[in-house]
């Protein structure tokens, strides 16, 4: 009896369902992707899937194009989001919380619905869909993910640091350059990762906002699995693996920075 209560009371016991969940839905699928990526439909080891990707110029171009779009989206979000976060965190607004709320509010609605609404908006004003629309849609969808972590770090920043910098002879620009910006880096890193990661793999937004005219890397993967039939799964798995590596590299670049663990943003 005592043994039973000890087992139930142990924190270790309660961790088991989660371990099981992680194994079933994270580790196992990842393993499957790796196995599929390195085998042919018959199950023999091969590097053919990767070779196929690197030899298909269309696939490589799509890959580079997707990276470029994701990078551009991230930069635009940073340029738009940082000032917004800065104003919210520093200006003596009567209701900064309401402002932050309004920026977050669109996230309450599913992003597919928002994207479809964006398409309708473009149609209403007869603006042609395409690359511009795609960038617009991506920035619209992911801007809050940039604003929020930056706002968080800026808001937590000790006001007296800014005063100290002024006191030591720094003018407004120098205070920003030497104190505010370096101290908001953790938030910026979090924001970059949170915008870049989903944009590099998105496909639904691209399909809706360009009427399938522009294919992103996410779409390639989706097509390999959805339309290509069983024999294309291995190719799809290889593409997924390539993307995983890219995303892994970005988050590595973020977490590796010393500043990130000092005053952490959202991640």
């Amino acid at each position: 009896m005592n043994k039973l209560t000890a087992i139930i009371g142990s924190r270790r016991t309660w961790a088991w369902p989660y371990v099981l969940f992680l194994v079933l839905f994270v580790v196992l699928p990842l393993l499957l992707i790796v196995i599929y990526a390195f085998t042919d439909p018959q199950g023999h080891f091969t590097l053919k899937n990767f070779l196929q990707f690197f030899q298909t110029s269309e696939a490589v171009n799509t890959f580079i194009y997707s990276l470029a779009i994701a990078l551009l989206t991230t930069i635009i979000c940073l340029l738009l989001g940082y000032p917004a976060a800065y104003i919210m965190a520093t200006a003596e607004l009567k209701t900064p919380a309401v402002m932050a709320m309004l920026f977050i509010l669109p996230m309450w609605i599913n992003f597919l619905l928002r994207t479809i609404a964006t398409v309708e908006l473009f149609n209403m004003f007869s603006i042609p869909l395409g690359e511009g629309a795609l960038l617009y849609g991506m920035c619209y969808d992911f801007l809050p993910f940039m604003i929020y972590p930056v706002y968080n770090t800026l808001q937590k920043m000790d006001r007296s640091l800014i005063e100290a910098a002024h006191d030591l002879g720094a003018n407004g620009r120098e205070v920003f350059q030497k104190v505010i910006l370096p101290l908001s880096m953790p938030g910026i890193y979090s924001g970059i990762i949170m915008v870049f990661m989903p944009t590099v793999s998105t496909f639904a937004i691209a399909e809706l906002l360009t009427r399938n005219k522009i294919t992103l890397f996410g779409s390639l993967i989706q097509r390999a699995f959805g339309e290509g039939g069983l024999q294309m799964w291995n190719y799809g798995a290889a593409l997924s693996l390539i993307m995983l590596v890219i995303i892994g590299l970005t988050s590595f670049f973020g977490n590796n920075d010393e500043a990130a663990d000092q005053k952490g943003g959202l991640l």
């Binding site: 000790d158 100290a164 002024h166 006191d167 002879g169 000092q262």
Partner: protein, 490 residues
């Protein structure tokens, strides 16, 4: 050009916040070059606001601030040759010790070798050599404080402003740092303006102390002046322990309090003037008395009172008697409360203990009696207006008044309303009063309390009471019609 030796002059500076409250109310202060001036006061007294106005983080609403005779009232902080040591250090967490200290010098585009030399020198001054490349987060509170001081003095400012720099340190550390700061001040020759709420710190460190309360300067003087000759009850009460009593100045060098007359050394108060009297607890001589009652007849007998160590001054001093109520050992001395037969309470500090219940005699030397002008009369003064319904409006409420008071006035007349301090009735439950307020300030006057009540509308009301209240208590305020006197207003 410069006519005087003042490095900082604050002339009639007021600072009003958006909510209309004055943080500084017509403050004037001059600081000499090389001086160590401490601004002392309870929290919210405006001392930090004054410092921030000098640093440039806040701009005075009116008045001006001069540095070496030059108006800097509107100069932004980065253009002022003053540096601040912040209460919570405000070290840059993304820079190491060296870069923190070098921050100001790098902005001035000084060459690298000079920077290195000066940073090392500053770190040496604060005893932090060999810490150059440490992360500031890895330093203890005291070490961070030292770095913060080094970061300020490395710029060789004209004035160093210190905003409660030691408040976050523990007692032992604080004492050590106090001495070091004083040493540093001597060595550097920079003018220090130091803000603190710790009266002991202020007395220990400063050449001059500026005592502030409610946005106003109460007294400026050397630590000894402030301690021995406080100008009003606030200063006396805030600096050290004190017995504050209401008394009457009978004539020059003669004052009455506690129903007795004493010789003192104060002059120029006029005859029969109500005054406040301050006696420090350590200035009262105390001995065990054999005579049970305090009568004039026993004056001769007092000479034979128990005094084995011969420590009671001999002479024609007025003595008074009481019974020890409590005695607490405070390390060096005992702190005893003594109640006299006529109901006055005295706090006395002595190296000898007198156990509760002992009848003791007390005396104080004339030079240890500090006489101060009473800040207020014995009644509250309000502006009021006679209303049509036979009531009088003051303190934002309507009050019933006796017929005979009202008789000379017509509706609409402006009147001056007088309410004696001891006739204001305070109620435990705020809804039982005609208006409500909060106990804002308490002063014990030996046998009664002198309270300042701040009403919800922001008026101050003075009350004498024997009841015990705590600061911050909510009270209802009631004034009986017979307690209200009306005088013709302007």
């Amino acid at each position: 050009m410069q006519k005087n030796n003042y490095i900082i002059e604050v002339n009639n500076v007021s600072k009003q916040f958006e909510d209309g409250k004055f943080a500084l109310d017509n403050v004037s202060l001059s600081v000499e070059k090389g001086e160590f001036v401490t601004i002392l006061g309870p929290s919210g007294c405006g001392k930090t606001t004054l410092l921030r106005c000098i640093a440039g983080f806040q701009v005075a609403t009116s008045g001006d601030i001069l540095l070496k005779g030059e108006d800097i009232t509107q100069t932004p902080p980065h253009k002022r040759p003053v540096n601040t040591v912040f209460q919570k250090y405000a070290l840059f967490p993304h820079l190491n010790v060296f870069d923190n200290v070098a921050f100001g010098l790098k902005l001035k585009k000084i060459d690298k070798d000079t920077i290195v030399k000066r940073v090392k020198q500053a770190l040496k001054t604060v005893g932090m050599t060999d810490y150059e490349y440490r992360d500031v987060d890895s330093l203890s509170g005291g070490q961070q404080q030292r770095v913060a001081i080094a970061r300020a003095i490395v710029n060789q400012p004209e004035v160093l402003l210190l905003d409660e720099p030691l408040a976050a340190l523990d007692l032992k550390m604080r004492k050590d740092m106090q001495l070091e700061l004083k040493e540093m001040h001597k060595k550097l020759g920079i003018t220090f303006i130091y803000v603190t709420h710790d009266q002991e710190e202020a007395l220990t460190l400063s050449d001059r102390v500026v005592v502030m309360n409610e946005g106003k300067i109460q007294q400026i003087g050397t630590p000894t002046d402030i301690y021995n000759e406080p100008v009003n009850c606030f200063v006396a009460d805030f600096i050290g322990e004190s017995n504050i009593l209401s008394g009457t100045m009978i004539r020059d060098r003669r004052v009455a309090f506690c129903d007795k007359e004493f010789d003192c050394i104060d002059e120029g108060f006029g005859e029969n003037t109500p005054v406040d009297v301050v006696i420090r607890p350590e200035d009262i001589y105390i001995w065990e008395s054999k005579s049970k009652r305090d009568s004039q007849a026993s004056i001769e007998a007092q000479q034979e009172d128990y005094d084995p160590d011969d420590r009671i001054p001999k002479g024609k001093f007025t003595k008074w008697y009481g019974t020890v109520q409590s005695s607490i050992f405070k390390g060096v001395h005992y702190e005893m409360t003594i109640l006299t037969d006529n109901g006055y309470e005295f706090m006395v500090q002595d190296y000898h203990e007198f156990t509760p219940g002992t009848t003791v005699g007390m005396l104080v030397k004339p030079e240890d009696i500090q006489v101060m002008h009473k800040e207020h009369h014995i009644y509250n003064l309000f502006e009021g207006e006679v209303l049509k319904n036979g009531k009088v409006r003051f303190l934002d409420a309507e009050w019933e008044v006796k017929e005979e008071q009202l008789a000379p006035f017509a509706a609409g007349d402006r009147v001056e309303v007088q309410v004696p301090f001891h006739e204001v009735d305070l109620q435990d439950h705020e809804e039982e009063g005609a208006i409500s307020g909060e106990v804002h300030f308490i002063l014990y006057k030996g046998n009664h309390y002198h309270l300042t009540i701040r009403t919800d509308e922001g008026h101050d009301l003075y009350v004498y009471t024997e009841d015990v209240w705590d600061k911050g208590d909510r009270v209802g305020i009631q004034i009986a019609p017979e307690s209200i006197r009306l005088v013709k207003g302007e």
